[in-house]
């Protein structure tokens, strides 16, 4: 029997998620708003200096996240893969900086007969510059070899394969660092001039708020590196070639662009930024161990997704945004500060459900998916 009657709309999976999603969204955002109202307006539980303190720490950690997130986004933009070993590249940079500071600390530059004075305390600026140069170079080199060894042979494989290789590379690097440097947690030896915790004091409402030197350094340097990267990608021949390769590898090759060389350089640049982030992390947070790259790595990945993966300003914005939310969020919601990681990952889940393309990301075309 033929029938032209349309069957009534079924509750397909698609319809189901269309109904459930807004309800879930309203619940989530509603409860967040209610909580914010309660803490901020009804109770007025915290005073201004606390907010300033949290804001400062959010900006600092946000800068670090942003630098790492750029690495995820650059690589994703060109290879459409998540470089899950990127956090380990940052860890390598942290270690490189650590050993440089250890070395400069051990050199005595005091005149004969005077009390010992280490190179890093006598020339803090030079030591810090050296540490960043070494950290960035070593991490960039690591990134270069990571691509060459773990990803290049799989260039033509299905997309899941390099992803698995990335996770493998991540484990490998963690374990290699554990074997080489032992699992112990070490203290970063900052030059005396930028000892952790020292800084400029502000008095707000009669209480002291410290802007640490290491924090200021981290924030300013990360902003400068981001500006430098942005200008590089927009204006230089290399940057334009990177964009061309990201948009279409075959056509880029037809322009005479050596696609493999551009991919290598992308990993070098990502690695250098992660290395800088690693040295900042060490200087500001003070601890280094083989696992140090994991959490910032995964947070920065969240930041890159938040901003729209593949989009460079998105990664910067996402990093800053995540740093601020993580820092202000627990207090604003009146929950324990320990829950900041939970907030970060809840944000990732919410973004993936409601706007998988991120804040600045566009909807991916079929070809890219």
């Amino acid at each position: 029997m033929e029938s032209n009657l349309k069957s009534p709309p079924k509750l397909t999976r698609r319809n189901y998620s269309k109904i459930i999603r807004p309800i879930f969204g309203l619940l989530v955002f509603g409860s967040i708003l209610w909580r914010l109202y309660e803490v901020l307006i009804a109770q007025q539980a915290y005073s201004a200096e606390i907010w300033v303190r949290l804001l400062i720490s959010g900006l600092i950690i946000g800068g670090v996240y942003a630098l790492i997130a750029i690495g995820y986004t650059l690589v994703y933009g060109i290879l459409f893969m998540i470089n899950f070993a990127h956090g380990e590249i940052m860890m390598i940079g942290t270690f490189a900086g650590y050993f440089l500071f250890e070395a400069t600390k051990s050199i005595n530059v005091a005149a004969e007969g005077s009390p010992p004075l280490s190179f890093s305390d006598a020339y803090p600026l030079i030591s810090v510059i050296l540490a960043f140069l070494v950290g960035m170079t070593v991490a960039a080199t690591a990134g270069f070899f990571l691509e060459k060894i773990a990803y290049r042979p799989l260039r033509k494989a299905p997309r899941l394969v390099p992803l698995i290789s990335a996770i493998g590379a991540s484990f490998f690097l963690q374990n290699a660092a554990q074997l080489l440097f032992s699992p112990q947690v070490r203290d970063y030896t900052n030059p005396q001039a930028i000892a952790r915790g020292s800084g400029w004091s502000l008095i707000i409402n009669g209480s002291r708020v410290v802007i640490t030197y290491t924090g200021a350094l981290t924030f300013i340097l990360s902003i400068l590196l981001m500006i430098g990267l942005y200008v590089m990608v927009q204006k230089t021949k290399l940057g334009k070639a990177m964009r061309a390769v990201a948009s279409d590898k075959n056509t880029a090759a037809l322009m005479g662009i050596d696609v493999d060389a551009i991919i290598s350089r992308t990993f070098i640049i990502s690695g250098a930024l992660a290395g800088a982030a690693g040295v900042m992390w060490g200087l500001h947070n003070g601890l280094v161990h083989f696992f140090v790259g994991f959490l910032p790595g995964i947070k920065a990945f969240t930041a890159a997704v938040l901003g729209g993966i593949g989009n460079i300003p998105g990664a910067m914005l996402g990093g800053m945004f995540l740093g601020l939310i993580e820092s202000l969020g627990p207090t604003a919601l009146g929950i324990s500060y320990q829950l900041k990681d939970v907030i970060a990952f809840v944000i990732m889940i919410v973004i993936l459900i409601f706007r998988p393309s991120g804040i600045l990301g566009e909807v991916l075309s079929e070809e890219k998916v």
Binding site: R243, T251, L254, I257
Partner: protein, 234 residues
């Protein structure tokens, strides 16, 4: 100038080109005509180094280039303007042209070349700050050709330059191809618009499912009964 001998190209298990041989002399316009799926684009991709042949060789100016990478072939003077224009959509017109001149390191030469392109394609000058993706189809084709010419090609491979364009634009594009050729660039033109292609070409090859089935002077090919019925709608 270009000599292709017994070229066999596979896509996985699909035998796309089954022993193609043809040649192109300096200064010529040679056209390859054929239906969809005949292997025209595969052939161009193999010459420009995007694909590599399993058997056979591509000889250019007496040198075997069959195994060279695409970027090396561009430096040797073969530039391929791909099917569907393949403009870098999120880069400006100016940046697209700069990418075309990627192999040129002399800044002055790039500037001069760009001036010449704006002369030839005035519409690109008006739109030079615009993103490539915002141009119309005809403008994108102009940009694709200008981008190709930025590298100073000795041999230009054009893949379906008339695709999806209004007849008046097709005329314009073909005039430009003739112009470029008269200035000394040899052209290998792949087309479905057989009539237009044959009218400007010196010689022609007809490609069918991976084989060359007919070759000769463009005028003779245009009068071939098989071509008339199959490609010229006669």
């Amino acid at each position: 100038m270009l000599k292709v001998t017994d070229l066999n190209v596979y896509y996985g298990a699909i035998h796309a080109l089954k022993g193609i041989s043809f040649d192109l002399q300096e200064g010529e316009i040679v056209t390859l005509i054929g239906a969809n799926g005949a292997g025209k684009s595969t052939l161009l991709n193999t010459i420009s180094g995007i694909l590599h042949a399993k058997v056979g060789q591509v000889e250019y100016l007496g040198e075997d280039i069959s195994n060279e990478a695409a970027q090396v072939i561009v430096q040797k003077g073969i530039v391929h303007v791909p099917e569907g224009r393949k403009i870098f959509a999120k880069m400006t017109v100016l940046e697209n042209l700069e990418m075309g001149a990627y192999t040129v390191s002399d800044r002055q030469q790039i500037q001069d070349k760009m001036g010449a392109m704006f002369e030839r394609f005035p519409v690109l000058r008006d739109r030079k700050k615009q993103l490539g993706g915002t141009l119309s189809g005809g403008e994108q084709q102009m940009l694709a050709m200008a981008r190709g010419l930025m590298a100073n090609p000795k041999l230009l491979l054009l893949d379906e330059p008339s695709m999806g364009l209004a007849p008046v634009l097709v005329e314009q594009i073909f005039d430009i191809i003739q112009d470029i050729n008269q200035l000394g660039t040899s052209v290998l033109l792949v087309e479905q618009n057989a009539h237009m292609a044959l009218s400007i070409a010196d010689r022609a090859y007809v490609l069918e499912t991976g084989n060359i089935v007919l070759e000769g002077d463009a005028a003779d090919v245009m009068n071939d009964p098989m071509v008339i019925s199959a490609y010229l709608g006669g």
